[in-house]
């Protein structure tokens, strides 16, 4: 075996959709089931929901869901893809929110879209600074050091009145949302704005994790030494992960403040929020784009469901204190259960379910019409 043809280009074979990245690699895009699913989802989210949804659905469920999903997406880049655990996500949300507030307050001539981008960049810059320890620290040491970001940033926003325009209570109301002269301050408007931002960012993230750089991040996560030996710029990749992740979490903070709460206060970005975002990523599935959305959906919906359930079962006994405590317990149990039973999260759970359904369907299909059903790809 002498002719290895290592230098001859291999003819682009009919590459099946890659498991981790369902896309045809060489630009030949064939509508895959995933693409169809995403298209359908977007059509419903943009087209149908605004027509039929209630104010409660947007204000209490969908808008916070979008903001948290985005934060989960950002943390997933750092933790899921690059393998660096952070316990300080809420700090970067706060940076994004306060940056956007101050930009819209102090530079009102800037369009809000620019505010968002700049707020993201500010969060990215702060993320870079707090990402510096990752160049020397790993594992627990790094996780603990990200707590420094959490406490320091919260303290700064508490102490320095300038950030909250010297508001005596520390709570500031953000200006109503409007993009290009279009007022978006209603429930539906704020939801649609959040949805647009999340869609765009998700598209970019998907491109990123599917790129050689995204693969390099995963390589770094799986084996740092090997990554170094094959010449990956490990330090640069780590900082990139921190910057991109913080950017996205910062934008999520903007959504949280401007689209969901319409106020900003430091207490809203406390350690519990950071844990919440971490839980979203764990429950949803590490290193999975879908995971952030699934996890956020669960985190937003389950307290509401639990409240309903408690009221029906226990009636008056189920007061807000009991509710809060049972939420804590259930959330903790969920985390433990997922880590033990399904470490790859809801995303993998859904995958398996889908495989089973698809398997049943193809079996059924091949029984009905023997020729089709062989071309199944998931």
């Amino acid at each position: 075996m002498t002719d290895l043809a290592l230098d001859k280009p291999v003819p682009p074979n009919a590459a099946g959709p890659n498991r981790t990245a369902p896309t045809a690699r060489r630009g030949m895009v064939r509508p895959s089931p995933t693409a169809l699913g995403v298209g359908l989802l977007l059509a419903v989210a943009f087209g149908l929901l605004p027509l039929v949804g209630s104010e409660y659905l947007f204000d209490a469920i969908l808008t916070p869901f979008l903001a948290l999903a985005l934060a989960g997406l950002g943390l997933n880049i750092l933790t899921g893809y690059a393998g660096q655990v952070s316990l300080g996500s809420a700090a970067f949300m706060a940076v994004g929110a306060y940056a956007a507030f101050n930009l819209s307050l102090r530079l009102p001539e800037l369009p809000f879209v620019v505010d968002i981008l700049l707020a993201g960049l500010v969060a990215a810059a702060v993320g870079l600074v707090f990402g510096l320890p990752s160049l020397r620290l790993r594992g627990f040491y790094l996780a603990v050091s990200t707590l420094a970001a959490q406490f320091f940033v919260q303290w700064v926003f508490n102490k320095v009145g300038w950030f909250s325009n010297n508001s005596p209570s520390g709570i500031v109301t953000v200006p109503p949302l409007s993009v290009a002269g279009l007022a978006l301050d209603g429930s539906v408007g704020r939801y649609l704005f959040g949805l647009s931002v999340v869609s765009v960012v998700t598209l970019v993230v998907w491109r990123l994790v599917d790129s050689p750089t995204g693969r390099a991040l995963a390589a770094l996560r799986d084996h740092e030494t090997a990554a170094r030996v094959i010449g990956l710029p490990v330090l640069r990749l780590k900082l990139l992960a921190f910057a991109v992740s913080s950017f996205i979490i910062g934008v999520a903070g903007v959504l949280w403040a401007f689209a969901y709460l319409r106020t900003v206060e430091p207490a809203g970005f406390n350690l519990d929020r950071s844990f919440q975002i971490l839980f979203i990523v764990i429950i949803g599935g590490l290193a999975s784009l879908r995971g952030a959305f699934l996890g956020a959906a669960l985190i937003v919906v389950f307290p509401l469901a639990l409240a309903r359930l408690g009221e029906t079962l226990l009636g008056g006994l189920f007061d807000s204190g009991v509710l809060e405590m049972s939420q804590r317990i259930v959330l903790g149990l969920l985390i433990i259960a997922f880590l033990i039973a399904e470490p790859a999260g809801l995303s993998a759970l859904l995958d398996r379910l889908w495989h089973r359904i698809a398997g049943r369907l193809t079996a059924l299909c091949s029984r009905l019409c023997p020729r089709s059903g062989s071309n199944r790809s998931v």
């Binding site: 603990v144 406490f151 350690l271």
Partner: protein
């Protein structure tokens, strides 16, 4: 500079540092034997203090309360070990850490569901009167806490040095597989370790509870222990003590001398920043050995 004032602040800081060490030691015990950074240590501390207070408030005598609480702590430890940590054996340490984060949520919720959310006062019968020693005012309570902590560390040291189970513990910490191979019962050792960390949680919970009142925020003292661990290394009891002293002193000195310049309230993060700065110089902490990577 007023040196006697400085000394007073320093001593006060060192003594409150002992309280941090107390919490950190609970972490170290678990970390050494099972490689888990047990975030639930704070929740356990809360649970212990809350259980004890609630029992004595219901008329149980002091020692009966202590005994019952200890039994409960051992049971909880065993439960965590069996139901959470064992199924996750061989998982990456960070996964175990996140699992204990979940555990802490469960325990915090359960403790308050069980005993209520109101703040309980806890009187250990120690007056917090300032005591003058060599011209420096020192809190009696701090001294008492330091003495208790010292006694506990001495007790643990004796236990691990001279009892069979203690020796087993050290063997497991050194090399779990080898310990298993020579016939040590991991079950018994782990039970012992969780009991020991339960004792530490109870002692720390009582002291902290007497200081702050027994309430939810008690579980947040875990956040005070983390920089201590980072400084002293996750696996060194000596490190936990020295780290605690350093963190206590730095915190108090910074609060008194630097705090006014930046508006105060810096004790929430100064320990983290100090620990971080230190880590950047010595990534393995004060006592940790530089790990040799085997590839």
């Amino acid at each position: 500079m007023d040196w006697s004032f400085f000394t007073e602040v320093l001593v006060g800081g060192l003594l409150s540092g002992v309280m941090y060490s107390l919490v950190a030691i609970g972490f170290v015990l678990i970390y050494k034997t099972s490689g888990v950074l047990n975030f639930a240590q704070g929740a356990l501390l809360l649970f212990a203090a809350l259980t004890f207070v609630s029992l004595t408030e219901r008329g149980l005598p002091f020692w009966a309360g202590i005994a019952l609480t200890l039994a409960a702590m051992t049971a909880i430890g065993a439960l965590i070990e069996r139901t959470v940590l064992r199924p996750l054996v061989n998982q990456p340490p960070i996964t175990l850490f996140m699992a204990t984060l979940g555990v802490s949520y469960v325990i915090e919720g359960a403790a308050q569901l069980l005993w209520g959310t109101q703040v309980h006062g806890l009187d250990l019968g120690i007056d917090d009167l300032p005591l003058e020693i060599g011209g420096v005012l020192i809190s009696t309570f701090d001294l008492f806490a330091a003495a208790v902590a010292g006694a506990m560390v001495a007790g643990l040291t004796l236990f691990f040095r001279y009892t069979r189970i203690g020796l087993g513990f050290r063997a497991v910490a050194d090399d779990p597989l080898a310990a298993l191979a020579v016939g040590l019962s991991l079950d018994r050792i782990w039970t012992a370790v969780w009991t020991a960390s339960g004792v530490v949680a109870l002692v720390a919970g009582l002291l902290w509870g007497a200081r702050l009142g027994v309430q939810f925020s008690l579980s947040l003292v875990v956040l005070k222990a983390l920089p201590v661990l980072v400084l002293g290394g996750f696996d060194s009891i000596a490190g936990a003590i020295v780290g605690g002293l350093i963190v206590g002193a730095v915190e108090k000195l910074a609060e008194v001398y630097a705090g006014p310049l930046v508006g105060g309230g810096i004790e929430g993060w100064i320990a983290y920043v100090a620990a971080l700065g230190f880590l950047l110089i010595r990534p393995a902490g004060l006592f940790g050995a530089k790990p040799v990577e085997r590839v």
